[in-house]
Structure formats: C-alpha cells, structure tokens
C-alpha cells in the first residue's frame, strides 16, 4: 500500500530552521529551508546530509517550497542551493520572492561583515539562488511535473505567507508554514478549502495558548508605551523589518494621532521606507479594509514615524524605537538594548516569540545579568514586557484549521515538544485522527488508502443510476455488475455484454435442465396451476407468470409439467435455466422436490 513519509530536518519538536521532507507518490518535496537563530555553528542550518552524504541534492528533490520570508523558513536557502547544490525549482509567492533576498542579504551582512565569519554564502549566491525561484500565485494550480501539483493558500502571518497543498494522484499533503487564523491590522486570516489531505502538517508555536482578544493586547501595549513615555522613559521594540513592525506602526501611528503625542517614534533600519513600499505594491495581500481604502488613504504612509539614526539612541527624553532584529540576538536592536538596559525608566517590549539561546529569550525568562562578548556582564534594569503579537495560530486557531481542511492525519512541527504533546492529545480526542510529532531526523510514515480511478462507460453508469432510482434505499443497496478491462495503463469498466463485443469474444451459453418427480393426483394443467400458486406465494418480488402455452415462467426460467406413462399421478416437472439464473434455478429445483403444500 502506498505510503507518505514525512521527515523534519528542522522544526521537529523545535522552533527554528524549518525544513521538512515529504515523500508522496514517489515525489520528494522540501518544505521550507530555514536557519536557527539560537545557534552560530553547524546546527544553524538543517542537516542536508540526511538526504545524501555526497554531492548535490538536485537528483533527490522534485521541488522546494518556501512558505514565507522569515529567516527561520528561508535562511538556509542559498546555502542549500548554491553550497550543497540544488538546481531544481524553488516555489514561493511574489511578495516572498521580493522580500526574501533582502532579508538574506541582511542576515549575510550581520554574519560575515559584523561577526567576521567565513565560509558563508555570498551576495552572488543569493542572486543565483533567487534565479531558481518560480513565483506562485494564490489558488493557482502549478504543475511541477506531470504528476506533482501544488496550490498555495493565504496564510495571514506575514505579507505573502502561504500554505501549500501538495498533490500526487489522489494523495495529498498540506503544509501550513506559519499562519494566523484571526485578521489583524494589516493582514487577513488564513483560509483553506475542504481539501481533505492525507496529512496536514501544521505549525504549533502556540499549541497550548488560547490568546485573549487582540483588542485587549493592543490596549495593553499602548498603555505600556504611553506610561513609559509619560515618565520620560525610552521604549525599545525589537522587531523584524517586515511583518509585525508594520502592524505595530499602524497601531502607534493612529494612537499618536488620536492622543496628539509629540514623543518621536523611530524605525531603525534603512529598510523602513522600502519595506512600506512592498506593502503598498502588494496591497492585494493585506486585509480587506486596507485593500478597500488604499486609493483614498494608503495605510503604509506614516506621518509620525521617522527613520532612526544611531546617534539618536543617546538623545535625552522619551522616544519609541522599532529596531531589528526581533530576538535581540544581533544588530541594532541589541546595540540599543545594551545602551538602555541599565535604566529602570526604560522598557523593552518583545512583541514576538524568541528562540532559545537569544538575548530575547534570556531576558524573557527573567535573567537579570547577561554575559556579553569579552566577558563583560550586562545588568538588566529596564522593564521587560512580553506581548504576543506574532501572528501564529493559537490552539483554537489550529483546531479551526483542522475543521476547515478535514485531514485524515495530523502532523505537528514548529513548536515545543511538551506543548505539542498536549495539543496532540487534544486533536486525537476531538477529531479521532492520528496526530504525529516527529523529532528532527525522525520519519513518520502514514499509509494511505487511495481509491482506484476507473473510466466507466456512460451507458453502464446511466443504466445503473436509472435502475437505482432517484432515491436508492440505503438498507437494500443495489449491486451492479460490470467488467473491468485492463489494457496498458487504462482501466475501463463496461457492461459484460460490451466487454464481450469489444474483446471480440462470443458468449458461451451454459444451461441446466432438471426433471423433478412429484406425486400429485391432479391433471397436468391443475398441477401446473398449483405450482404457479405455490411459487407465486413463495417468490415475492419475482416475476412469476402462467403462460397460455402450458408453461410457468419465473423470471427467465421455464417450467413444464408432464405425467409419466405408467403413473398419471407421478408428475415430471421440467425445469430449464441458464447459468445467469443459477441461484434461482437451483433454489426452484430443491423447492419443488419437497413437494407442493397440501393447502393449495
């Protein structure tokens, strides 16, 4: 029986370096190719040697699909395609294709130029890698080859984020990437049709959280920012350049406008304007409200938010700064953090998930002393606030998606093992489907049970449907008969008569004749009538006829009566039937052997 195999090379019971291998219907697909923010060594990238020990990956993969532009989903792509070696197609949506190379270049700069690492991918490699990208449109069915097709669905999460349906024949897998089931200030909610995949591979970042309403979180966020500003403190909000940043900018922009606030808001990287431009050009990927009003007012043109310069960090007085990256593991956000950490008037608000090993993760866990490079320690006095604005589905959202897609099996990735365990139990209980959560390098095999598609002759189908009536009785299903002709790779189901004709065969008639002796002191014709009445009463629902030529017909079986020469009371009943009536014929002969009931 056919199997679908799923092996995470990354994001198996973990968050970071998402990379999942799926093998379905003889096709091998790599889903995402991310990096891990928590490591600086080999563990940073997925272990591609799992696929092959030596040489390039092109022969082992039919395609690579990238769900969205976050580095934990695409950060290893140039390494994989240019350094390990892969020349096949890489699929991603237009916005992802646009933004992904910028983030990769950023990542490369931080790693190579700032940390001085060598043996890393180059700018040229990013360009070469992007040349292999084939853009995906939402809902478009892309034929990767004759058998493998993929289709993208809207996932919310960030601009251009997509879920993908992978289909080979009647077997299918859905990979969600990261998704969000509630619309936010700039993006819509994820949606998928009832595609009933064999496996739904879902992220489970917030497997155990049911988050309070978005409005409350927004109010909380604004209140904290406002209070800090009021007491003259500085607010640092570490973000990734694209995504949550735009949502929070829209939020602060409207708040500043309404409250008539004067404290400056800065956005740290040169990316800002460029980033906002992407949002303007890809406005069709944002939420309904923004799309509807963009002609009158483009939500991504900010009045209060200005570009940040490094020197501003030392300016006196309150300010709000959005700085990258979001997990405080490097770059400008970390620099500003170091400057501001010592003052308890200041505040850092972490609006998203932080991977283990990052400064962000440490301070969220309440660590008050951080070891920095060069054995220096940093005391954390400023207030640390965590606010989940990262647009992942929570437990409720995951369950909602399962209801939408109706998968036969569920597989969790991109989450923490303990929380996954909890969600797995919940899913198995509520939907009675198997739920898997393989660790990295561990293969989950799901056996599928695909039905076999066959071409049925329209004549046969129409005849059957007509005989079945408009409302077939489910208790007494009708059995239909046909002949399946298997020739080369075609399977055709036709009526037996048509099969004989098509194959140039003649029918072989098999008949049975049987004489039954019966003591019945009546005239031959009376005996026949008695037989007729008897059969009529026993064989309800059958066509039993008394014909004028002195025979009784039961369906197509003929009965005749004669008396034996010696004894006029000894009747001989002649029964004749064809093989097609075998059961009925056999039944009649044994029935008549028992004699006629006296009551007739």
């Amino acid at each position: 029986m056919p199997d679908i195999k799923v092996t995470p090379l990354g994001a198996g019971q973990d968050v970071g370096r998402s990379c999942i291998l799926v093998s379905v219907g003889g096709k091998n697909i790599m889903l995402d190719c991310g990096m891990h923010m928590g490591y600086n060594d080999d563990r940073r990238f997925p272990d591609f040697s799992y696929i092959t020990q030596n040489g390039r990956l092109t022969d082992f993969l039919d395609c690579v699909i990238i769900s969205h532009f976050h580095l934990d989903h695409c950060g290893a792509l140039p390494y994989m395609s240019e350094m390990v070696g892969y020349d096949g197609p890489i699929y991603m949506t237009h916005p992802t294709k646009a933004i992904c190379p910028i983030l990769l270049e950023d990542f490369r700069k931080i790693t190579v130029d700032k940390k001085g690492e060598t043996n890393f991918f180059t700018s040229q490699m990013i360009k070469d890698c992007m040349k292999k990208v084939v853009p995906l449109n939402l809902h478009q069915t892309v034929q990767v080859d004759d058998e493998l097709e993929i289709k993208a669905y809207y996932a919310g999460h960030v601009l251009g984020a997509a879920m993908v349906l992978i289909k080979v024949g009647s077997e299918s897998v859905v990979y969600t990437g990261d998704y969000n089931m509630t619309p936010d200030r700039h993006l819509g909610a994820a949606w998928i049709d009832k595609c009933r995949p064999d496996i739904l591979i879902s992220e489970s970042t917030y497997a155990t959280t049911i988050r309070d309403s978005k409005r409350c979180r927004e109010r909380d966020f604004l209140k904290k920012v406002h209070e800090t500003i009021e007491r003259g403190g500085k607010v640092l909000i570490p973000v990734f350049a694209l995504g949550r940043a735009q949502e929070l900018c829209i939020l602060l922009e409207t708040f500043w406008e309404r409250m008539n606030l004067k404290a400056p808001i800065y956005f740290s990287t040169g990316l800002t304007e460029k980033a906002n431009h992407y949002y303007k050009l890809f406005i069709t990927w944002t939420n309904q409200k923004i799309r509807k009003t963009f002609v009158q007012r483009n939500m991504f043109e900010f009045k209060h938010i200005k570009a940040f310069d490094r020197s501003y960090a030392d300016n006196p007085g309150p300010m709000v700064v959005f700085a990258t990256p979001g997990m405080l593991h490097a770059g400008q956000s970390l620099q500003i953090f170091k400057k501001w950490a010592g003052n308890e008037k200041n505040m850092v608000i972490m609006p998203g998930y932080c991977v283990q090993g990052t400064v962000g993760h440490k301070i969220l866990n309440g660590q008050k002393k951080l070891e920095m490079e060069g054995r220096a320690t940093l005391e954390v006095k400023l207030q640390v606030e965590y606010m989940s604005f990262s647009a992942h589905a929570d437990a409720k959202g995951i369950m909602q998606l399962i209801r939408m897609a109706e998968p036969r099996n569920m597989l969790l990735v991109h989450g923490e093992a303990k929380k996954m365990e909890f969600l797995k139990d919940k899913i198995e209980q509520e939907f009675s489907i198997s739920c898997y959560m393989p660790a990295n390098g561990e293969t989950t095999t799901v056996t599928t049970n695909p039905s076999v598609p066959v071409d049925i002759s329209l004549n046969l189908l129409k005849r059957e449907m007509a005989l079945g009536g408009p409302l077939p009785d489910p208790k007494k299903p009708r059995t239909m008969h046909g002949t399946l002709i298997m020739k080369d790779s075609s399977l055709r189901l036709v009526s037996p008569e048509q099969a004989l004709k098509e194959l140039g065969l003649s029918e072989h008639q098999l008949r049975f004749t049987c004489r039954v002796h019966l003591q019945d002191p009546h005239s031959d014709s009376d005996t026949l009538s008695r037989i007729y009445s008897h059969l009529k009463s026993v064989l309800k629902g059958y066509a039993v006829q008394h014909l004028p030529d002195g025979t009784v017909m039961v369906e197509s079986i003929v009965l005749k009566v004669s008396s034996s020469g010696e004894d006029p009371n000894l009747k001989v009943i002649l029964l004749s039937w064809s093989y097609q009536d075998e059961e009925l014929g056999s039944f009649l002969s044994s029935l008549l052997k028992k004699g006629l009931p006296s009551g007739l």
């Binding site: 478009q140 066959v454 002949t483 399946l484 008639q509 098999l510 026993v538």
Partner: protein
C-alpha cells in the same frame, strides 16, 4: 427629410401628436439625423434562455462585463459569476464611470417614438437598420452594479474551479488586458476552450497562455481584432508623431479613451517619447471619475503583469512609469473638468478622457471647447466605435482628426498560427470570421480558413457541439479493488468482473464492495429454510470460451466420473454419464447439463465446466 416623413402620414390628430413628439426626439446635423435621448444600451440576448437556469457566468475581461447587471439583476439569476481580481476591480471602475457619466446629465425621458416600427422604417440609416430597438435599456444604477458584483467569485490564473463535481473551469491568461482570461471547461474526457479577447503582442499584461489550450475537443473563438488591417505598433508611432506635431504648433490633443487598458501603454509610450521629442514640459491630463483609482489599481496587480513589469516590484518600484509622471507633475488626473482642473489647466496639453463614443462624459466639453480650432487634434485610439459616427453630431469641425486605432487582439494571421499550434478538433466562431469583411470582399486573408471548416454561429443561433460522451470517471474503493481477480484474456489485456454498490453524490461516483448480508440467528434460520428465497438481481457474469473435449473428459475422470459415453453430433458432442444418469451436451458456444434429482452432481459438473470458461 421632415417633409418626406410628413407626406407619409395621413393627417389625423393622433398622428399629429406622435409626429410632434417625434420631431422633438429627432435632431438633424450636417445632413444626418440623430435621436436626442437618454443614452440606451443594446444588451446580450435575454429571451432565448431563462436566466434563472444559468448556473455560472465566466468573464473574459473587464470590457466583457459591462452588461453584467442586466443579466444578474431582476432576471431570477441566482448563479455564480467567476472573474479574476483585476477584471473585477477594473470592471467595477468602468461601470462606476459609466453610471457617473449618466448621472451628471440626467434626462427625464428616453426617446421612444422613433422606435415605432412604421416610423423607424422611414428614418435614414443607420437609425433604420438598428435592430431590437425595443430591448435597448437605460444605464443601470450603482446599486445594481454593486449587487451584480456581489455575485462575483474571484479566481486566479490556472486555478481549477470545480463546478457541481461535473466539470472543472480554469481561467488562463489571454494577454489582452489586466486579468483578461480565456477559459477551459473540462470534464475528465472532454475539453472546451473559450478563447475571447486574446493578444500575442507584448504589452503590459501577462503573456497569453497558449499551451494549456492544447488537446481541446472544441475551441470557441471570439474577440478577434476589430481592425485587422492596422498594425498596433505602427499606430502607436503615428499617434506620437501626430501628437508632437500638434503640440509644436501650439494646439491641444484630445484622446477619447477608456479609463483602463491601452491608456497605460499610451502613457508609457509618451513617457519615453516626450523627452526625446523635446516636449517634456507638455502637461498630460487624465480626466475621469475613476482616473485616480485606475492609475492606483494598475500598480498593485504585479502578479498579473508581464515579466518585465513584474520584476520592478521586487526592487521595489511601481510597475508602470505613470507613477513617475504623476510624481513629477507631468501627468495630472481629475475626477471631472469642474473644480481643480479648471483652475490648474494649461495649454497646449494632452487630454485623455472618455467616453470614446463621444456621446457622454467629459470628452463632450472638450469637443465643444476645441472643435472650432484647426490647431487642435483629436486622436482616436479605441477601436470600438466608428470615428466618423462619433464625430458626426459635432460637424462641421475645424479640429484635425486622426484615426490610430490600437487593437492588440489577435488578427487572422495570428489566429491561424495559434490554431495550428494548439490543434483543436473543432472550432466554433462567429459567422463574420468565416468570410472576408463586406467592404473588402477580395481579402481572403481576413477570414478563417480551417480544415474541418469552423462551425459558425450568429446571434440567437443554437449550436450542438460535436461531442460523444462515452466515459465518466468513477472511483473503486481500495477494498473493492483489492478483491478483484483479473484474468488475462489476450496478451496484454486482462479482465475482472466487478460486483459492487454504486454511490453517486454531487456527480461523483464511487463503487463500494457489496455489504455482506447480516447473518440470521441460527435458530430462526432452520425454521425459515423454506422461505430462504435467493436475492433478486444478482446475476452471474457472462461466460466465454469453449470446452476442449479431451481435457474435460480428463477432469471428469479425475473427479471420479469414469463411465462416459461420447457421441458425436453435428455441432459438437454429447457426453452420457452412465453411472450418474446425466447428460452433457458440449458445443462451440454452448454447454447444456441435463441432470435430474442430483443437486450435488449438478453443481460439481457446473463447477467443472466453469473451470474452462472465462467470466466477464
């Protein structure tokens, strides 16, 4: 001409009234007669079929949906309309523009007197030749537009949309305008392609998807170029040179056009041309209630644009250069000539505005403003209306008139190349394509010549498409498929008999194994043995093959039947089983077993015979 009319009528009082109102309706200008009325529109045929029975409407491009409210509103239509997002958005803009034009100059009444058959007959052409004049309708309202658009379901190129489980429809890029589509309508076995308004030229939209049209049983072809003799590139050159000439001479240029489509290409062309022609300071004005929206929307559909424009958004830059024209104040757009425009406008200038028919919209004001000066030029680029008809009510005119129709849709040469490429079994097309245009009857290159000849249709004709549907897709459940026993009948051909229960739901068919009868409790079973009537309607398979005598005798022997007397007959043999008192008649295509009163023997013989036969 009034005199002619009057002579035709008897002077009854009633007629006088009709005539008076008729005279109010008709206006004469430069020897031609016009009807002065609220504009009316000729609609698609609505009588031929009951629109409430239509399940699905597929839209090809935004020009092809202007009648949508007439079809979906007040007709009982309750189906779904499928269109791409650009088609939907720009179609909405064009309808909104039309409604605004109408609302700006309300007229209390539509002219009806001239529609009287007797009167219409007397009118000069083209009035006299207008058909179905009573079915013409006034413009719809914005409310009707919104209601019609609420029935639209958005689709993307190459998206497979299932309809009722029976067919699948897929829009393909047609290369003509933003979001324009050809449609594939297919089942598992039949494929119909609907090709309407397609272009092979490289303009702003995504190139036409030709390969997906292959293997069509039927290809319905329509929306070819209206001006097969004009080359769009040449026309563009002429457009620029005439424009430059007029501006240099101090005149203004008026371009009557639709608010989306070719105007994007014109602006792009001028963007490059004006600087090189040293006319960089000439202002462009685009005046339409939807000018701003149209320009903004064009920039957000990167996915639907040609490669060249698509790659611009990766930078990120707007795909069309008119963004730069706006930024540098070279192109200004206004919702109408009133308000800001009147104070800001400088001459000489280039004005793009509608409606291209010159019957309504802001273009009418410019005709009146500029028509009297020979310095000015009007350049027609839209192919939908005859420029002579459009200009007729403004005659006499002093302004220069240039006709540069730009129609990028397929010409006959391109079509025949395309059809050679995709090779449909049958082509269906409008009658006009099967003969040269009436004015150029010698141009056999301006028609479709195909083998087999195309099936032609005209308005209201009903064509049966040449299909013979023979198969349908059905799914065998895995349990059923596993239980099948195939046997090889001929080398490479196997057969298996299938007995199964058919389940049909939403036009999807599944075969399931026959459920096992629930066993009757044993105590009851014995009692009711008599009445255990076999199930009706479970016929046995058909048999085929023949029984070789020697082998059959050998197998009889093996089962312990040894006393067999073989008698040869004309058609075969008769075997007497002497000990058992039974008879088997063997023929080429028939076997007859005669056996009395010995059911075990009969069934044993039956099974022996069956062993030599194939079941179908």
């Amino acid at each position: 001409m009034y005199a002619d009319l009057m002579r035709c009528f008897n002077w009854t009082e009633c007629m006088l009234i009709v005539l008076c109102s008729l005279l109010k309706e008709l206006k004469e200008c430069a020897g031609r007669v016009f009807v002065d009325s609220q504009p009316e529109f000729c609609l698609p045929e609505r009588e031929l079929l009951d629109l409430s029975t239509v399940d699905v409407i597929l839209i090809s491009n935004y020009h092809c949906m202007m009648a949508l409210p007439y079809i979906t509103e007040h007709t009982g239509f309750s189906g779904t309309v499928y269109a791409t997002e650009p088609t939907f958005q720009i179609g909405r803009l064009l309808m909104e523009e039309l409604v605004t034009f109408m609302e700006r100059v309300p007229k209390a009444q539509s002219a009806t007197c001239w529609k009287n058959k007797e009167i219409q007959r007397m009118l000069p052409g083209p009035l006299k030749d207008a058909v179905d004049v009573w079915s013409w309708k006034r413009c719809y309202s914005m409310q009707e537009v919104n209601s019609a658009l609420s029935k639209v379901q958005l689709v993307g190129y190459s998206q497979k949309v299932e309809l009722f489980g029976a067919v699948q429809v897929t829009p393909l890029s047609s290369g003509y305008s933003l979001g324009s589509s050809n449609w594939i309508i297919q089942s598992h076995y039949e494929k119909v392609s609907y090709v309407s308004g397609s272009s092979l030229l490289t303009t702003h939209p995504q190139p036409m998807d030709q390969s997906s049209l292959k293997n069509s049983d039927v290809l319905i072809l329509t929306g070819l170029t209206q001006i097969p003799t004009a080359n769009p590139d040449g026309m563009l050159g002429e457009f620029c040179s005439n424009l430059a000439m007029t501006i240099r001479a101090g005149g203004n240029v008026l371009v009557p056009c639709y608010s989306s489509g070719v105007i994007y290409d014109l602006l792009e062309c001028l963007y490059q041309f004006m600087d090189s022609a040293n006319l960089g300071t000439t202002p462009f004005y685009f005046i339409s209630p939807v000018a701003n929206s149209s320009l903004e929307f064009s920039q957000i559909f990167a996915e639907w644009l040609c490669q060249n424009k698509q790659s611009k958004v990766y930078l990120p830059e707007p795909p069309f250069p008119h963004a730069e024209l706006i930024q540098t104040n070279k192109l200004k757009h206004y919702p109408s000539i009133h308000g800001e425009f009147s104070s800001e406008f400088r001459q000489p200038c280039v004005v793009f505005t509608g409606h291209p028919s010159l019957r309504f919209g802001d273009v009418v004001h410019f005709m009146e403003l500029w028509g009297k000066s020979s310095l000015n030029t009007i350049i027609f680029t839209e192919p939908d209306f005859s420029y002579l008809d459009a200009l007729a009510p403004y005659q006499p005119l002093a302004m220069k008139c240039v006709y540069c129709p730009i129609d990028t849709r397929l010409n006959f040469h391109q079509v025949s190349k395309l059809l050679k490429e995709v090779q449909p079994l049958h082509v269906v097309c409008p009658e006009q394509y099967t003969q040269p245009p009436p004015a150029q009857s010698h141009r056999s290159d301006l028609m479709l010549e195909l083998q087999p000849p195309p099936m032609a249709y005209r308005r209201c004709s009903v064509l049966g498409l040449p299909f013979r549907r023979r198969y349908e897709r059905i799914q065998l459940q895995p349990e059923l498929a596993k239980a099948l026993v195939p046997s090889e009948i001929k080398p490479g051909i196997s057969v298996a008999t299938v007995s199964a229960v058919l389940q049909s739901k939403d036009n999807k068919h599944v075969l399931q194994p026959v459920p096992k009868p629930t066993p009757v409790p044993p105590s009851k079973k014995r009692k009711r043995l008599m009445e255990e009537v076999p199930e009706l309607l479970s016929p046995k398979p058909l048999l085929s093959g023949s029984i070789p005598l020697d082998a059959f005798l050998a197998s009889l022997h093996k089962s312990g039947i040894t006393e067999v007397k073989v008698e040869e007959t004309a058609d075969g043999h008769i075997l007497h089983l002497q000990a058992e008192d039974a008879l088997i008649q063997l023929e080429e295509d028939a076997t007859h077993i005669v056996c009395d009163n010995n059911e075990p023997l009969r069934t044993a013989l039956r099974d022996l015979v069956l062993r030599f036969l194939q079941k179908l």
